[in-house]
């Protein structure tokens, strides 16, 4: 086994992992304000990619404009989802909300299918397809874009949640919505914001991934599944954990496919995930919430 092969697997894993990590980030934001896992998160990623393709082809605008439009439209979709489907049932148990997000994901997928058909589309890479070679491993320029933008998003979110009033207010809502509203935080507004931000993050993810992974109306399902796994692995609620969980999952898959068996790579990744979960029941970077008796 030579170094360049190993390095190639790592590069693959990192690129793949960023996909999962970006989806996981979106999960984290909504979880942090509502305590609910939003199963429509994968659909936000899909919308980002598909709308970019759609605007690019049908409006004939340039790629950056199409992307800007797509991200904006997805963010608005996030807001609409919250206003129309989540807010009316905010007092229901969490499982009801989760089922509603499942319904919404089916709905969004269906609308996308009817609007844009069932085909797969490709978005042009941001800066060409000529790979950069590093110690014999090929790295796509787009992969660097993905890694870079993921890091920027992660840093931004970290700053937002730990250093801004808005971010702290959002966190407060998840810990205790009633207490948060007592100290004057508009809980509903925060929930709305969280849907918008996570739709935004999802859309950005969808846009930067589309040139690598291609996009179609149904890419959201798999991304949602892996993103959920990533944020559980990292520990729910921790943006850093979510990103790290995604990277770990991606690298595990790539190494599994490379060294052991490409047929069982997902199974291997999940076996390791389960083992980690049994050792650390609240994720790698999650807090143990020891409840007071």
């Amino acid at each position: 086994m030579d170094l360049s092969t190993l390095l190639q697997y790592l590069v693959t894993g990192l690129t793949l992992g960023s996909t999962y990590g970006l989806t996981a980030l979106g999960f984290t934001i909504i979880f942090n304000t509502t305590g609910v896992i939003n199963f429509a998160q994968g659909e936000f990623v899909m919308l980002g990619g598909m709308m970019s393709v759609f605007f690019l082809h049908s409006l004939g605008v340039s790629e950056p404009v199409a992307i800007l439009l797509a991200v904006t439209a997805t963010t608005i979709t996030g807001a609409l989802v919250e206003r129309l489907a989540i807010r009316p049932v905010r007092h229901c148990p969490a499982i009801n909300l989760v089922i509603i997000t499942i319904g919404i994901s089916i709905l969004i997928r269906g609308i996308a299918m009817i609007l844009w058909g069932k085909d797969t589309y490709a978005l042009p890479s941001f800066s060409g397809n000529a790979p950069v070679f590093f110690l014999g491993a090929a790295i796509m320029p787009q992969a660097l874009w993905v890694l870079g933008i993921s890091l920027v998003l992660l840093g931004g979110l970290k700053f937002f949640f730990s250093a801004t009033i808005q971010g702290k207010a959002m966190l407060a809502c998840s810990f205790n919505a009633k207490a948060a509203s007592l100290v004057g935080i508009g809980v509903q507004r925060m929930v709305l914001f969280s849907f918008m931000i996570s739709a935004f993050v999802g859309a950005v993810g969808g846009v930067i991934l589309a040139p690598i992974t291609l996009t179609s109306f149904d890419v959201g399902i798999m991304l949602g599944l892996k993103g959920f796994a990533a944020c559980i692995l990292g520990g729910l609620g921790n943006p850093f954990g979510a990103a790290a969980g995604g990277i770990i999952l991606g690298v595990l898959e790539a190494l599994g496919a490379g060294f052991i068996s490409s047929a069982y790579k997902d199974a291997l990744a999940f076996v390791i995930l389960l083992i980690l979960l049994f050792i650390k029941p609240s994720g790698l970077f999650g807090r143990d919430d020891a409840k007071r008796v």
Binding site: I37, V89, I99, I100, I106, L107, R109, G110, A267, P281
Partner: protein, 324 residues
């Protein structure tokens, strides 16, 4: 008493199921009904697990599939009698659920969901990749048909009766459990694990019990499914089916066994009705799901109860007015 009321319901349900074929113009409806019953078996188990014990599982499609594949393999490849293979299939699904439940049930909430989901995904990859045993993604062909005590059931009506009877037995077991000390223990550990412990409930054991019981129900459904269809493919046992069962239970109202049966029937029949809408079907399906959850937060069963109470109140008022 509540148990007696549930038994009346079960008797009525059983009668309706047994009479239903008489009202069916052809076999197509029987097939739909058989699928409804199989899904309802899964839903009843999950109703105990999710609605009553407050635990979640996104892996029950795996047990459903494991039982189906085990029975298919034993009866087709090995050549065991169908009845024996079915028992072995149910056994395999149930025993595996013990192995899955033991480590997983120590986890809570979303982490438990993830662990069971992980097991489900691993099982479904095994179904896909062990091509020599399972026939791989294109499916397991040529499974012998359902037979009871060596007597093969060839027509849909008799298969339907067996499946419907199986569902009723499962519902009976579920009611028995719910109206016993076990049922109370499950509801207790749902609200407060520590209070349940203080009342002498071995929380870990009861969680495992209900997990295994629900997996047993799914396994029964699985072997019936395999020998009814005589063909199985991994796509039927994926993660989406696990989610679908949960949706059935929640749509039915979480804690109500009749509710989850109604949820299962509703979600199985709905796509058949929506067939006419072709491509818009998926949109309608999503919209109906969302609207149901928004306007019937306590499920179809809860909505029905409220309607019933309102009607009763109205008729009581009417009769009162008459008396005056």
């Amino acid at each position: 008493m509540a148990y007696r009321r549930d038994m009346y319901w079960l008797a009525a349900f059983f009668t309706v199921l047994m009479l239903a074929p008489l009202a069916m113009p052809n076999n197509y409806y029987l097939t739909v009904l058989i699928m409804c019953c199989l899904h309802a078996m899964n839903a009843v188990g999950l109703c105990l697990l999710v609605g009553h014990a407050g635990q979640i599982s996104l892996g029950h499609a795996g047990f459903y599939g494991l039982a189906a594949y085990t029975s298919a393999f034993l009866s087709t490849t090995i050549g065991l009698p169908v009845g024996l293979s079915m028992l072995a299939g149910i056994g395999a699904g149930t025993v595996t659920s013990v192995l899955v439940g033991l480590p997983s049930l120590k986890l809570h909430g979303h982490y438990l969901a993830m662990a069971t989901l992980g097991f489900g995904v691993i099982l479904s990859i095994l179904f896909t990749e062990t091509i020599d045993i399972t026939g791989g993604p294109s499916g397991f062909v040529g499974i012998p048909g359902l037979s009871v005590f060596g007597y093969e059931l060839t027509n849909d009506a008799s298969i339907y009766r067996v499946v419907a009877l199986g569902l009723c037995l499962i519902v009976w077991l579920a009611f028995n459990v719910l109206h016993s000390r076990i049922g109370r223990a499950l509801r207790a550990l749902h609200t407060s694990e520590k209070a349940a412990q203080a009342m002498g409930v071995d929380v870990a054991r009861y969680k495992l019990f209900v997990f295994v019981l629900s997996a047993f129900f799914s396994s029964v459904a699985g072997v019936l499914y395999a020998h009814y269809l005589t063909f199985i493919a991994p796509a039927s046992f994926g993660f989406m089916f696990s989610v679908e069962i949960i949706v059935m239970v929640v749509l039915g109202g979480m804690i109500s066994v009749p509710g989850s049966i109604i949820g299962a029937f509703f979600l199985t029949v709905l796509p058949e009705f929506l067939r006419a809408f072709e491509n818009s079907e998926i949109i309608l399906f999503g919209a109906i799901l969302v609207l149901c959850m928004i306007f019937l937060p306590d499920g179809l069963a809860g909505g029905w109860n409220r309607l019933w109470q309102r009607l009763r109140a109205a008729s009581a008022q009417a009769s009162l007015r008459k008396q005056i």
